[in-house]
C-alpha cells in the first residue's frame, strides 16, 4: 500500500443521537488507498452501518454527525453544501445496500434503472445507454435487450445484486460502500459477487469499504480490516495479520467464535452483550466481557496504540500478545450405529402444485444429531416442517419411535406433540411480544401436560436456568431481550416438556457469530445431557462439524449425499456437494490453534 493514492481518509468521525445525546460511534479514523478494500466488521449494534452511511455524508433521522472529516480525494464531504454533496453521492461515492430486492425500484426496468443513475449526474458520461451496456458486462450480466427490459422481480437474487453493483460502479466513483451486499445470497452466488467487486475495484482504482458481520467473507476480500465494537474501532490493520494474530481481546474472542468447516472445534462464544449507546460507562466498553481486564481498564476509554503495523484500542495490547487461548478441539464421537429413532421413507411434499421434496429417505439415529444442508429453495425447511406437522401436504411415511406420524397437527396426539419440539429460525418472530417470558416458557406445560400453575412456574424457572438465563427474566417481555437471549428462551420453551426429538430450523442464522457460538455450544451440551435426537437445519456448512455427526445434503428437494460429517466435508462424492463446500469462504490461519499455518486468508478454491 506504499506510495499509493489515498482515496478515502476518515478522521475522528463522531456521530451522536441528536445534537448532544450519547455517541453512537466515536473516534473513527481510517484510510483506504485506490483499488483497495477495507473490511468493516462488527456485530449488530456496533455502529458499522452508521459509519458506512456517514461515508456518504448521511446520518439516519435522529442521528447527527457531530465531528470529524470524511475526505474523498482530498475533499471533505461533510463540509460540502447540500447541493454539492448530492452531486457527489452516486457519482463519486456510491452505496450498495444489503437487500437489492428492496433497494431496486420494482416499477422500473433494469436498463432504465441503471441509466437513471447515470442521467441524474449529467456530464459523467456522454452516452448513458452505451455505459449501461458496458457496466453490465463488467458485473457479468448479459446486456441483452431482453434482460434490460426486465423488472427487478424477474431476476434472481444474485442478478439483482449485480444490477445494484452496476448502478454503483456506472459513474466510476472513487469510493464504494458495500453494506453486507451478500447476506441474503447463497454461497456460490456470494462468491461470484465478491469476485466481481474485487476485480472492479482493482480495475478502476476504486476505494471500497465493505461492511459485514461475516469474518470469512471480509477475510477473503479485504486487504485491511477494521473491527468495531460498541461504536469504536478496536483493531485496525492488515487483514492477514489481524486474523492470524489478533491482539485486541474482542478480536480474539470474535475469531474464536467463528465456526470453521475445516476443523471440529468447540466454538467459544462471548457471554453478555455490548453496551448500548448512552450506557457505555467510563472505561473500555469491552471491559465487562474481557478476559484480560484490570482495574485500569474501567477508568478511561483506551486510546489507540500503534503496535505491529496496526492500531489497537487496548491499554494492555503490549502485554497480552503472545500465546492466545488454545481452542479446544472436540472429537465428536462417531455415531454408534444406533437404531434410527426417526425415519423418513419416500417423503414427497408440495406447496400447492409445486413439488418441494421428492422421495426423500432419511434416517436419524437415536440420540444423535443430523444436519440437513442445502441452498435456499432446496426444501430443507419444508422437510423439517413435514416432520413437525406444520406442513401437511406430503405423502410417504415418517416413523418416529415406532409410531407413524400423521401428516398434519390435527391427527397427532398430545404425546406426539410433546415428543417432537421445533425451534424456529427467527427468535424475533417466534416469541409472542405480548406475553412475558414466564408465560411463554410455561405455555407448553399447560397445553401439552396440563400441569397446575405452581408447577408450571417452577419448571419454567428451572428451564431458564438450563439455558443460563437468570430467573428474573420470567417477568420480562421479549422486546427487552437481545436476539441471543430470545433464542435461548425459545430453546427453553422447547426443552421444558422434555422432548425426544428436537428440530432446529436455522436457529443461529439471525444471530451474531459470538452469540451463535454460545447457542450452538448450549444446544450441544443439552443434546448430550438429555440424549436428544436432533435435526439441525442450516445453510452454514462451517457449523457442521461443531454440531452434527451426520449430514444430509439437499438439492431441489432431493437428497444428493449423506454420511458422516467428516467424510462428506473431506471427500464429497456428489459434484454439487463439492461445489457447495468449495464456495464457502474460509477463515484460515486463525492462529488460535493453528500457529503453524502460514498466516493468510485463503479461499479454498482459488487458494489465493
Amino acid at each position: 500500500m506504499t506510495g499509493e493514492v489515498l482515496r478515502l481518509e476518515v478522521s475522528d468521525l463522531q456521530i451522536r443521537v441528536g445534537p448532544s445525546g450519547p455517541d453512537v460511534v466515536s473516534e473513527i479514523s481510517f484510510a483506504v488507498p485506490a483499488g483497495e478494500v477495507l473490511g468493516l466488521v462488527g456485530e449488530s449494534g456496533s455502529g458499522k452501518t452508521t459509519v458506512a452511511l456517514a461515508l456518504l455524508g448521511h446520518a439516519r433521522r435522529g442521528l447527527r454527525i457531530t465531528s470529524g472529516e470524511v475526505r474523498l480525494d482530498g475533499v471533505n464531504l461533510l463540509s460540502l453544501p447540500p447541493g454539492d454533496l448530492r452531486a457527489a453521492r452516486g457519482a463519486r461515492a456510491a452505496y450498495v445496500p444489503q437487500d437489492p430486492s428492496a433497494a431496486l425500484n420494482p416499477a422500473l426496468r433494469v436498463g432504465a434503472q441503471i441509466e437513471e443513475a447515470l442521467r441524474v449526474h449529467p456530464g459523467v458520461v456522454e452516452d448513458p445507454a452505451a455505459r449501461t451496456v458496458d457496466v453490465m458486462r463488467e458485473v457479468r450480466l448479459d446486456a441483452t435487450p431482453d434482460l434490460l427490459r426486465r423488472y427487478p422481480h424477474q431476476l434472481s437474487g444474485g442478478q439483482q445484486q449485480r444490477v445494484a453493483l452496476a448502478m454503483a460502479f456506472c459513474c466510476r466513483p472513487s469510493l464504494i460502500v458495500l453494506d453486507e451486499p451478500t447476506t441474503g445470497l447463497d454461497v456460490s452466488t456470494q462468491r461470484h459477487v465478491l469476485d466481481t467487486v474485487r476485480s472492479l475495484c482493482g480495475l478502476y482504482g476504486v476505494a471500497a469499504v465493505y461492511v459485514s458481520h461475516d469474518l470469512a467473507v471480509v477475510g477473503g476480500l479485504a486487504g485491511e480490516v477494521a473491527v468495531m465494537y460498541a461504536g469504536r474501532i478496536v483493531e485496525l490493520g492488515p487483514t492477514s495479520r489481524v486474523f492470524a494474530d489478533p491482539i485486541h481481546p474482542y478480536t480474539r474472542r470474535l475469531l474464536a467464535a467463528a465456526p470453521s468447516p475445516d476443523r471440529a472445534e468447540d466454538m467459544t462464544g462471548i457471554e453478555g452483550q455490548p453496551p448500548r449507546p448512552g450506557r457505555r460507562g467510563a472505561g473500555c466498553s469491552f471491559a465487562p466481557r474481557c478476559d484480560f481486564v484490570i482495574d485500569e481498564c474501567r477508568v478511561a476509554p483506551p486510546e489507540s496504540i500503534a503496535i505491529d503495523g496496526r492500531e489497537v484500542r487496548c491499554i494492555r495490547a503490549d502485554e497480552i500478545r503472545g500465546p492466545s487461548v488454545p481452542r479446544p478441539t472436540s472429537a465428536r464421537p462417531a455415531s454408534a450405529n444406533q437404531a434410527a429413532a426417526l425415519s423418513l421413507r419416500s417423503v414427497s411434499a408440495r406447496y400447492g402444485r409445486r413439488p418441494v421434496l421428492s422421495a426423500v429417505d432419511l434416517d436419524v439415529p437415536s440420540e444423535s444429531c443430523v444436519a440437513v444442508v442445502g441452498e435456499s429453495g432446496s426444501g430443507k425447511t419444508t422437510l423439517a416442517r413435514c416432520v413437525a406437522g406444520l406442513h401437511s401436504n406430503w405423502t410417504g411415511r415418517i416413523m418416529f419411535d415406532g409410531t407413524l406420524l400423521e401428516p398434519g397437527l390435527r391427527g397427532r396426539t398430545k404425546e406426539t406433540l410433546r415428543q417432537v419440539q421445533y425451534i424456529f429460525q427467527n427468535p424475533y418472530a417466534s416469541l409472542n411480544p405480548r406475553k412475558t417470558i414466564g408465560q411463554i416458557v410455561a405455555q407448553p406445560l399447560e397445553q401439552l401436560l396440563g400441569l397446575p400453575f405452581r408447577q408450571r412456574s417452577e419448571q419454567a424457572a428451572s428451564a431458564l436456568a438450563d439455558v443460563s438465563l437468570p430467573a428474573d427474566f420470567l417477568d420480562r417481555y421479549p422486546d427487552q431481550l437481545s436476539g441471543g437471549e430470545r433464542q435461548r428462551v425459545a430453546i427453553a420453551r422447547a426443552l421444558v416438556v422434555e422432548p425426544d426429538l428436537l428440530i432446529c430450523d436455522e436457529v443461529t442464522s439471525a444471530l451474531d457469530v459470538s452469540v451463535q457460538a454460545v447457542i450452538v455450544e448450549q444446544l450441544r451440551r443439552l443434546q448430550r445431557e438429555r440424549q436428544l435426537t436432533m435435526i439441525f437445519i442450516t445453510h452454514n456448512l462451517a457449523l457442521l462439524r461443531s454440531i452434527a455427526e451426520t449430514v444430509v445434503v439437499l438439492r431441489d428437494g432431493k437428497v444428493v449425499e449423506s454420511g458422516p460429517v467428516d467424510q462428506v466435508l473431506e471427500h464429497p462424492k456428489d459434484p454439487y456437494t463439492a461445489a457447495l463446500i468449495e464456495d464457502v469462504p474460509v477463515l484460515a490461519g486463525t492462529a488460535v490453534t493453528q500457529g503453524m499455518t502460514p498466516p493468510g486468508i485463503r479461499r479454498s478454491r482459488s487458494g489465493a
Binding site: 443521537v17 441528536g18 445525546g21 453512537v24 449488530s44 449494534g45 455502529g47 452508521t50 439516519r60 433521522r61 435522529g62 442521528l63 444489503q98 453486507e180 448500548r276 449507546p277 413437525a388 406437522g389 406444520l390 397437527l409 397427532r412 398430545k414 406433540l417 419440539q421 421445533y422 424456529f424 429460525q425 427467527n426 424475533y428 418472530a429 417466534s430 416469541l431 409472542n432 411480544p433 405480548r434 406475553k435 405455555q443 407448553p444 397445553q447 401439552l448 417481555y477 422486546d479 427487552q480 431481550l481 436476539g483 420453551r493 439471525a510 451474531d512
Partner: protein
C-alpha cells in the same frame, strides 16, 4: 393494513413501571405527548366532562317551560330559551350523555362484532372466511346511515335498536381492517408455536392473536366512535333518535332551526359541541395511529431502535 407493534418499551422505558411495559400503553402515552393528540384529547375530554357532569349542575329542569320562546340570552338564561321556552343551557347540559352513551355502546358493539368476525375469518380461512366476508360485503353494500334508517323505520325508533343498527353497520368495516391485520399475524412463528402445542383455535385467537391487535383495534375504535357520534346526532336530528321532550343535542338542532334568527345559540351550541367532540376524538385517534405505526415517534428514539434491532427482524 398491518400496524407494526411499537417496541418502544425496551429501549426508552426499561425499568419503568409494570404498566408502562405494555407496548400499547406506552404508545398511548407517547401519543398523548404529541401536540396533535394533546389538542384532540383536551377537546374530547372537555365535551365528555360537560356531558357527564352536566345533569348535576344544570340550573333548572331541562323540560320546564320557563320563559318566552326563543328568548335572547339574559342573566337568568345565559343561552336564551328554545322553541317552547325551555332553558337552552339546561338542555345542553342534559342533552349530551344519552348521545355519548349510545355512540359508545354502538362503537363497542361494532368493534367486538367486527373483531370477532375479522379474526375468525382470517385465522380459520377457507369456508368460514368466505362466509363471513361475503356477508360483510352484503352489509357494506348499504350506505351506513341508510342501513340504520331502514331498521329504525321498519321496527320503530327504539333506543336499543338504534344502538344495534349503528353498531352492526360498523362491524363490516372493522372486520375488514382486522382481517387483514390478522392475516399478517397468523403467519407469525409464535402462532405456529401455539399450534404445535396443540392449542385450540379459539384460544389461539383470543390469547395469541387478539393481544397483538390492540393497536389497530384502538385506532378503529376511535374512528368508529367519531362516526357513531355523527350518526347518532344525525339520527336524532332526523327524528329517529330520542323522542321529544328528551333533551338531545341532535334533536335540539332540529327543533330550534326555525328560531335561528331569534336565538341562534339554541342551534349553535349543540352543533358546536358535536363538532368539537368529533374533531377531538378524530384528532386523538389520528395521533395514536401515527405513533403506533411509527410516523410520529421521536427521531432520537427511532434512531436508537434502528441501531439496536438486527436487520432481519425490522
Amino acid at each position: 393494513m398491518a400496524i407494526a407493534t411499537p417496541s418502544v418499551t425496551g429501549i426508552s422505558r426499561r425499568g419503568a413501571s409494570r404498566m408502562a411495559r405494555h407496548p400499547w400503553i406506552a404508545a398511548a402515552w407517547a401519543a398523548a405527548r404529541t401536540p396533535r393528540a394533546a389538542v384532540g384529547l383536551c377537546l374530547a375530554c372537555a365535551v365528555v366532562l360537560l356531558a357527564i357532569i352536566g345533569p348535576f349542575v344544570s340550573p333548572s329542569s331541562p323540560d320546564a317551560l320557563l320563559t318566552l320562546t326563543f328568548a335572547k340570552p339574559s342573566g337568568q338564561f345565559p343561552l336564551g330559551s328554545d322553541f317552547l321556552g325551555r332553558d337552552v343551557l339546561s338542555r345542553v347540559l342534559n342533552g349530551g350523555w344519552a348521545l355519548l352513551l349510545m355512540a359508545a355502546s354502538a362503537t363497542a358493539l361494532g368493534i367486538v362484532a367486527g373483531a370477532a368476525a375479522g379474526i375468525s375469518a382470517a385465522y380459520l380461512g377457507g369456508r368460514p372466511d368466505g362466509l363471513i366476508m361475503r356477508t360483510v360485503d352484503v352489509i357494506l353494500a348499504f350506505p351506513q346511515l341508510v342501513f340504520a334508517l331502514l331498521l329504525v323505520s321498519v321496527l320503530g325508533p327504539r333506543l336499543w335498536l338504534i344502538v344495534l343498527a349503528v353498531g352492526l353497520s360498523h362491524a363490516p368495516q372493522v372486520a375488514r381492517v382486522i382481517r387483514s391485520a390478522t392475516l399478517d399475524i397468523s403467519e407469525r412463528d409464535y402462532v405456529k408455536v401455539a399450534e404445535l402445542q396443540g392449542m385450540r383455535p379459539r384460544k389461539i385467537m383470543t390469547s395469541e392473536i387478539l393481544p397483538n391487535l390492540v393497536s389497530p383495534l384502538t385506532v378503529e375504535a376511535g374512528l368508529r366512535l367519531t362516526y357513531s357520534i355523527v350518526i347518532m346526532a344525525g339520527l336524532s336530528f332526523l327524528g329517529f333518535g330520542q323522542q321529544a321532550p328528551a333533551a338531545n343535542w341532535g334533536l335540539m338542532i332540529n327543533e330550534n332551526l326555525t328560531g335561528l334568527p331569534l336565538n341562534p345559540w339554541a342551534v349553535i351550541v349543540p352543533a358546536a359541541l358535536i363538532a368539537l367532540l368529533t374533531i377531538g376524538t378524530n384528532t386523538f385517534t389520528d395521533a395514536f395511529a401515527r405513533v403506533a405505526i411509527g410516523i410520529d415517534r421521536p427521531p432520537e428514539e427511532l434512531a436508537l431502535i434502528h441501531e439496536l434491532t438486527p436487520r432481519d427482524s425490522r
